[in-house]
């Protein structure tokens, strides 16, 4: 048995076993690079709670802040960052609010307030025209620094 042949079987077996190991555990327990790929695997109801960072300007106009205000350019990372902060509680949402407010202050003038809110929608009805949330919860509120 040459070293090359041994190496081919060793590396092959190690990677294949590592790939298959997640099958023996909780299917929702995710990792990298060996994963169960649990995304979109559960039973999903039409009810969807979406956390946002929103800014309310001096005129009371409310608009959603982009992902980069709370995380980076990746919308799913921003979504998870917001969800994580909501799970962690008031201190975390307050810090995230401050981060979003600082970001907003860097590119805008005038008085404004940032809020971290969760809106709950019926996701299917949303695309049928029902765009108003069925409920809203404010987790944090902070003034944009001037």
């Amino acid at each position: 048995m040459t070293f090359e042949r041994l190496w081919s079987y060793g590396l092959g077996a190690a990677l294949i076993v590592a790939l298959l190991l997640p099958l023996a555990g909780d299917p929702r327990a995710d990792s990298f690079p060996f994963s169960t790929y649990p995304m979109f695997s559960g039973r999903q109801s039409p009810e969807a709670t979406i956390p946002h960072a929103v800014v309310i300007d001096a005129d009371g106009e409310r608009s959603a802040l982009p992902p980069v205000a709370v995380a980076n350019d990746e919308v799913i990372q921003a979504f998870e960052t917001l969800r994580q902060a909501v799970r962690q509680g008031p201190d975390a949402t307050a810090r995230l609010c401050a981060r979003a407010a600082d970001w907003y202050a860097g590119g805008h003038e005038g008085q404004a307030r940032v809020e971290i809110v969760s809106d709950t929608f019926n996701a299917v009805a949303y695309f049928d025209g029902e765009k108003q949330p069925v409920s809203t919860e404010v987790h944090a509120s902070c003034e944009v620094p001037r």
Binding site: P27, R28, G42, P46, D73, A85, Q88, A92, D119
Partner: protein
């Protein structure tokens, strides 16, 4: 012939050195390009709150987030090693170096509460290539050397890359059935997932799929789509039979990603560009005229091998 001998023959089917080398160029080219283009995103994690750090995989070995300067060095080192990997320069070092650095960087970027699933196959393919003789042809290291031709040591890495691709899809399908059972097909879950994913993109100011928003109004579409999805995922092992079956499966899996892009605006760049499925094809037969002209200017000895 015994079963063990048959399996050994299948596992170590000879393949051209050039095939493994072209895979190195395709995978390495994607890897370097991906890291270069996404470098600002990777470096952005240095600004995240420490409480957001949720390590997975190798990142669980860390006590906490990396200092910003270390993260920047990791990105830079990955790029440097990647270029050397791509060029096939000092591959005994650059191959494993790029494989390990890319694994480290991608693991770190997935360690902030969201596991993305877009880089798994890339990282594992680079691991295989980095620890195999993928620079014995079409590389700076192989200049002046005769092409080795078909050997088993170039065949098993290609086989392993195919297995990695196949198992990834199979596991995704198996997880759906394990979590939701046949409800994943018969219930409104897929429809609700499409609606949910598009909704969060709209509400968070990102590009969403207008087609997906339109389709959720037609619930009857989704059970057949769910069946198709599971057929591609659970049918993946058939691709290991090779030949036309493998190519048909690769095409169907690529089509699945086109569908996901169309209905959910989710981009899996590595499969969408076809590179995840490249190991199933005789890629050494790709037309290489343009790279050959370029190589004749840069490294004449190497260019002769591209004909």
């Amino acid at each position: 012939m015994t079963l063990a001998a048959r399996l050994d023959g299948w596992w170590r089917t000879p393949a051209p050195a050039k095939r493994l080398a072209v895979l190195r160029l395709l995978v390495g080219g994607f890897g370097v390009g991906y890291v270069a283009l996404r470098a600002p995103n990777f470096v952005s994690y240095a600004s995240f709150d420490d409480s957001q750090f949720a390590p997975v995989g190798l990142a669980t070995l860390l006590d906490g987030p990396l200092p910003g300067v270390v993260l920047r060095l990791l990105v830079a080192a990955t790029l440097v090693a990647g270029v050397a990997f791509l060029a096939g320069w000092r591959f005994r070092v650059s191959g494993p170096a790029f494989a390990v650095l890319l694994l480290a960087l991608m693991t770190y970027r997935n360690a902030w509460g969201q596991v993305f699933h877009t880089e798994n196959i890339l990282v594992l393919h680079v691991l295989v290539l980095g620890f195999s003789p993928a620079a014995d042809s079409l590389s700076l290291d192989s200049r002046g050397r005769e092409d080795p031709g078909d050997e088993a040591r170039y065949g098993w890495p290609v086989r392993l890359m195919c297995i990695i691709t196949v198992l990834t899809y199979f596991i995704a399908g198996e997880t759906k059935l394990r979590v939701a059972g046949l409800d994943w097909i018969t219930s409104d879950s897929l429809r609700n997932f499409v609606a949910y994913d598009n909704l969060r993109k709209v509400e968070l100011g990102d590009t969403h799929s207008a087609l997906g928003g339109l389709l959720v109004g037609h619930p009857w579409l989704f059970p057949p789509l769910a069946v198709l999805t599971l057929a591609v995922e659970l049918g993946a092992p058939l691709a290991l039979l090779g030949g036309r079956i493998a190519r048909v499966w690769a095409l169907l899996a690529w089509g699945f990603h086109v569908g996901v892009l169309a209905v959910m605006a989710i981009i899996f760049p590595y499969p969408l560009l076809g590179i995840a499925f490249a190991p199933f094809f005789a890629v050494e037969r790709l037309p290489l005229r343009l790279p050959a002209r370029l190589a004749r200017r840069l490294a004449p000895g190497w260019a002769a091998r591209l004909r």
